[in-house]
Symmetry: C2
Subunit: 430 residues, 2 copies
């Protein structure tokens, strides 16, 4: 056994800095656990002159990331730069050189994970990525290890803290989306350009990683049907509340026979569901497995320290394996998955219509639903002067039938606007 | 690498049977994951004649547990008999012979875990026990591995499904303890002799295991201050509800400087806390760590299949390690812990008094609280004919001061009965 396991860090932003600090604070405890000191020997950064206040000598820093990967005094490469490139090339290079890698790079894994997993397997080294999904929440290890003897049937996750923060604020204060987004940006919960979060793209990447692991198949970020929260209104939230639901942006991945259903969109969730009470910037992943039943994992999905905690857990695992000339479990992604087209989804729907407050409109609406064989579970109309809002919740229906229904509504006189259409998940949790 | 990893099972009740079935259903997936078939070669049972309906040949069964441990065709011993003996001796024997062990035996680990962990370390083999705490919920692995680089400060768990089922029923139906217990027994959620569950002993054993792991120290089941739910009344639950709390039997383990605070008792938890919505027979463990922040793990805490799922996860881990001549992480229990006496606990308290409905009683009660420096946060009196109930919630106070206060109340005229005293956890979650 080596006396020290040497880390080469790629990137030293919020997470990288937190990893360095945590490693130094927990130095003795970690050495006792792994039987070797874990030390950072090289750090690749973009800007050598940035003030960092880390307990690391200046000569450890370099702008040459490839040199860090190649260095003889680096045993494990920890990639925290983010983005697809050059991170992907650097990780591939490390694996090819027989160096295990720890990464938090969800985007890269959601797009090229299967290639990296295959390379790690061929090279006989570890590739660990607990921090890539849901920050500090252990979810990769439970799916890869704890449930290795079980059959996962469904994963539902609140995977993006920014959107959960915004929806929670909208729910608690009855505020509308644009006001809350502005607040979230001022508080640092949302970026100046919030697109990756609010469009659902960030959640979709994480959902792809979880679906791949849960179902032992390749799910690419582009396979995930994705809708963001930009269209969610204060009215939608108050209607949901009255019906016993909260609106959450969730990633859902289910096994449906030979197909995989995988999607990210705002969803009506029953208030009684464990995910419904996950508020603010927290993340949570709900897992259904055949033998284990329902499981949920909850915690901070972002931030320097929480993410660093997960990265360090991985580093310690990988270091222990390295000391023993062993490796952790492998992904079993043998083939691309058969993604079920969104049109074939079967779920319940909520539809909100702005209508003229006059006789016959409801009858016309009901007829169009009936024409498409979409059965209405609940309907409720509220008048505002000469206009009214019509709320409909359907029984389980097929998405393509619902879409055809909505197209039909567009042509109906007396309907001013299709204000909202959203999926309702209730029976699936029964 | 061997072509097959051979399992010797000690005990074949509900969990053992479920493990055998799951292993046979998932045979191919498991072989693909571990690179070897996992097969059950020997099973020790008490009664050879019991009908089992398992896909296992008769000659696999024996009543000689020691022979299973010693057998040349057993690579991993899986102990699912429960109880301290003979399980403890058999596990020790397996470890001494260099055979890794998987167990779900919480009682044994809570009483003799440190000796078994030390023996496993000396022998250089794995001892895995995910199923010993919270059934299917991965909590051992997160504490031992995911948080290995972090510092856990506090663990709070709903660790016993029977008592959580009873308290949930009492809360939902306003029913009293004895009625609900009878229902729970009829439904199979409580045993004919429910003592181990309702007294808190089962939760205390699990709490001891978690505290040991979380704080890298030896915590024995007897170290855990334990109160059961037998005294919780329908009134307590409705008072809690009005004040914004639910009553849960929780195990709490905290690091307090050099001391460990570890206890199991019914507790007022704020309704907004993630643990508050854990209902029915579910278990959940809430973990606070310095870098990771708040985490929660939720799922089924008992039952054949959920427990078997966790056992199988361990078997696969251990088999993979065995194939690589490696072992998983070790417990770091270097010394007995310094348990903080319960008298030094600082928390809030709820006190319910049956009092005479007459002038001066409240003044007398308030004076006694004042005499012991226990400050009252909330007080509320309700009359019922000539009698009344007085509800008090204190600010944070020391347990010994609260106990002295209660002793003082016993001597006060106008007080008919100290109906309830319970701890309130609210600030700690702030």
């Amino acid at each position: 056994m080596a006396e020290a396991v040497r880390i080469g860090l790629l990137g030293c932003g919020t997470v990288g800095g937190a990893v360095v600090l945590l490693l130094s604070q927990q130095q003795e405890a970690i050495a006792a656990r792994t039987g070797a000191a874990i030390i950072v020997t090289r750090i690749a950064v973009r800007d050598l002159n940035r003030q960092r206040n880390l307990p690391i000598a200046d000569e450890v820093f370099t702008t040459d990331a490839q040199a860090v990967v190649d260095a003889d005094d680096v045993d494990i490469v920890v990639e925290l730069m983010g983005g697809e490139e050059p991170a992907g090339t650097l990780i591939m290079r490390a694996l090819e050189r027989g160096k295990p890698v720890v990464t938090a790079n969800k985007l890269l894994l959601a797009r090229s994970g299967h290639k990296l997993y295959a390379k790690a397997a061929t090279a006989g080294v570890d590739l660990a990525y607990e921090a890539a999904v849901a920050g500090a929440v252990p979810i990769i290890k439970p799916l890869k290890e704890s449930l290795a003897g079980d059959q996962v049937t469904r994963v539902v996750g609140i995977l993006n803290g920014t959107t959960n923060f915004i929806l929670t604020q909208m729910t608690e204060h009855g505020a509308d989306y644009s006001t809350v987004l502005k607040d979230a940006q001022e508080l640092g919960y949302a970026e100046a350009d919030p697109t990756a979060d609010v469009s659902g793209a960030d959640a979709a990447a994480k959902c792809a990683i979880l679906a791949s692991l849960a179902f032992d198949t390749i799910v690419h970020a582009d396979d995930v049907f994705t809708e963001g929260i930009e269209q969610v209104s204060a009215t939608d939230i108050s209607v949901a509340d009255r019906l016993g639901y909260v609106i959450k942006l969730v990633g859902i991945a289910s096994r449906c026979g030979e197909e995989i259903d995988v999607r990210v969109h705002p969803t009506f969730l029953p208030k009684t569901h464990p995910l419904a009470s996950v508020s603010g910037a927290f993340n949570a992943v709900f897992v259904q497995a055949e033998a284990a039943g329902d499981l949920m994992f909850y915690g901070r999905g972002a931030g320097g320290e929480p993410t660093a905690s997960a990265v360090l857990g991985d580093i310690i695992d990988v270091a222990r394996n390295l000391q023993q000339n062993a490796t952790g479990p492998r992904e079993m992604m043998l083939h691309a998955s058969n993604i079920r087209p969104i049109g074939l989804l079967q779920t319940q729907y909520y539809v909100l219509l702005d209508v003229d407050d006059q006789a016959g409109v409801l009858a016309g609406v009901a007829a169009i639903f009936g024409d498409h064989n979409v059965s209405i579970a609940q309907v409720w109309q509220e008048g505002h002067e000469d206009a009214a809002q019509l709320v409909l919740v359907t029984h389980r229906a097929q998405e393509q039938a619902l879409r055809a229904t909505v197209d039909g509504l567009r042509t109906l006189s007396g309907i001013r606007r299709i204000a909202s259409v959203m999926r309702v998940e209730s029976e699936v949790f029964a």
